[in-house]
Symmetry: C2
Subunit: 108 residues, 2 copies
Amino acid sequence: MEVPDIIKKDVEKKGGLEGIINLLAVEDKIIQKSKIHHALSDPLRMKILNLLIIQPLCVCLIKEAIDMPDSKLSYHLSVLKECGLIEGKRRRNWIIYHATKLGKEYKV
Amino acid sequence: MEVPDIIKKDVEKKGGLEGIINLLAVEDKIIQKSKIHHALSDPLRMKILNLLIIQPLCVCLIKEAIDMPDSKLSYHLSVLKECGLIEGKRRRNWIIYHATKLGKEYKV
DNA sequence: TTGTGGTTTCAAAATAAATTGAAATAGGTA
DNA sequence: TACCTATTTCAATTTATTTTGAAACCACAA
């Protein structure tokens, strides 16, 4: 296979394609990152996370902020929780969610 | 609706739920961000972007790096391109892709 | 206990995204 | 012109995610 001359030298300097591939982060790290991106790939979840960065809230207040059925909200909370962007603490009858340290890195 | 006492005061300090919602970024910005996250939500695309951050490459070299059919690769390139993470420049017979300034912010 | 408000879980249906292979395009060459 | 290589596009299929509404769960109070 031919390689365009304009990149040929640079690729060779980096040890060819193999050398370039070796410079990539390990697969696990890439997969982990893409999971976080997936959790944030929905505007609703982005909004929820950012609300919780501003202020920890019980589910009922989140629900009031972004109008949607309980089960839908619960689903999106679970996606955010699954990859460690938010956490929930039970407080009497409520569960109060807050953004984690990781989650706070994704403030918009 | 009742609000848990533990957050009640903090919420009020911030102007109630309404005040908190006003602190959110505007909808368009949130949507734009979530599109970027969506583009990065697939490990393949994460890998492609990171290859291109290391070194601009023609499609045929990317294809050699991460073995997959042309049309599949082309699809993923288009997703990354659509939201401005990468750009392609024609050079004779080839198209050479590179990470944009925006794209480079997402290096793993 | 029974009831109630707050929240999650579940399975089914709806929607969106990814994969495939074939056909099309575009630039360059014989 | 006809042809070749690199790449994209398209439509059909497969797979994954989201939405829904009903049922379950859980902590607390009457």
